[in-house]
Symmetry: C2
Subunit: 222 residues, 2 copies
């Protein structure tokens, strides 16, 4: 852990946000030692992890000598700035704005509504039963992906990937949502453009290696 | 509307995300013609607005000849790229990562949970009464701001503002949350660092001019 860009990544197999960082590291050809913080055991709030990241938040990307980097989109932008090849954003400001906007539709409009802390509030504080929690999840996945599908299907900048023919932060965020849907066994119909882009990404090693179900701590396939 | 950087901003007086764009335009000294899309009347889903922005999303920043720019953080990054002075992000990658991370804690971890569409789902589909909706709002504002307070109070990079002594995207996101809390008449105690930074920003014209309660369509002070 002494090379200038050698990282430790604190994360958990099934979280979307950890997945995004994993894919970006893979695309950039960067190695990170992944350390499991078991959310089911509350390890993110344990003393051992709080000494590493007082915020108790994963993913946390640690570079020796620096404060932990947190929040997946901030980490992706950071990795793209210090390791610009291959780029994760287009070179023109309008293209960058489009990619960041699609990424935000997924990572900021959609993902925060389906996180464990929200599900926990609904189940424990609000008394939702399992079916009501599932209806909530399906509602926000459907709303979020329908909006993204409408955009991708109608805007000329869409290519093999969300923006043109190169992978960007938008694709990473898209796949982080669909990978989480697989973990939760939720399927949504009527999103052909998304389905096509997801299939293209899923043929790439940078994405397959990051698959939640292949990570340390994931349940064995049944 | 023919100058290269003349904008139209479609927004609504009380939304956090419109507020963020308004503050950034003010800080950069850019003028935008603001057009009201009345969310209470469902104008964001009306034919007139869908012709301008088929996504039906506000804020939408329109530059003549370009597709609408959407998602407040993507718009802020865009404005910072095309009008770099004064900068809204620090110049070093670690500082930029910290600012983007704090911004995401507010705009992505906190704000999406308190939006009208979520409150509507809770009230109509889930049958929350007014007190339960309010408890939900207070819970997520408190959780989100407590995490940001912990960070700002403990990290040496905090200065007069969230990061050093210049306004950044992090401050814009922070004030967008506290401005929304004022609209909703929600107060939270025990966040002295945030209170101090909010007071500093509220002494600046770029923030006061963007105040939701001073915009077209806002209710008159009672």
């Amino acid at each position: 852990m002494t090379a200038p860009h050698d990282f430790e990544l604190y994360g958990f197999w099934r979280t979307s946000a950890t997945y995004r960082v994993r894919v970006a590291l893979n695309l950039k050809g960067l190695a990170a030692h992944e350390r499991v913080i078991d959310l089911d055991k509350g390890e993110q709030r344990g003393d051992a992890f709080l000494k590493i990241n007082p915020l108790g938040a994963i993913p946390a990307l640690i570079e020796p000598g620096h404060l932990p980097l947190t929040q997946s989109l901030a980490i992706l932008e950071f990795l793209d700035e210090i390791h610009p090849t291959p780029p994760l954003l287009p070179s023109d400001p309008h293209g960058r704005a489009r990619v960041r906007s699609i990424a935000a539709m997924l990572a900021a409009d959609t993902h925060p509504l389906i996180t464990p802390r929200v599900r926990k509030y609904l189940a424990i504080t609000a008394g939702f039963d399992d079916a009501a929690v599932r209806a909530w999840l399906v509602h926000w996945f459907t709303t979020g992906l329908a909006a993204v599908e409408k955009r991708l299907a109608s805007e000329p900048a869409t290519g093999r990937f969300c923006h043109g023919d190169e992978v960007t932060i938008a694709d990473i965020c898209l796949l982080s949502i669909t990978a989480t849907m697989k973990v939760l066994k939720i399927e949504i119909a009527g999103i052909p453009t998304i389905d096509r882009i997801v299939a293209t990404c899923e043929a790439m090693e940078a994405f397959t290696k990051a698959d939640p179900l292949k990570q340390q701590g994931a349940p064995k396939a049944s």
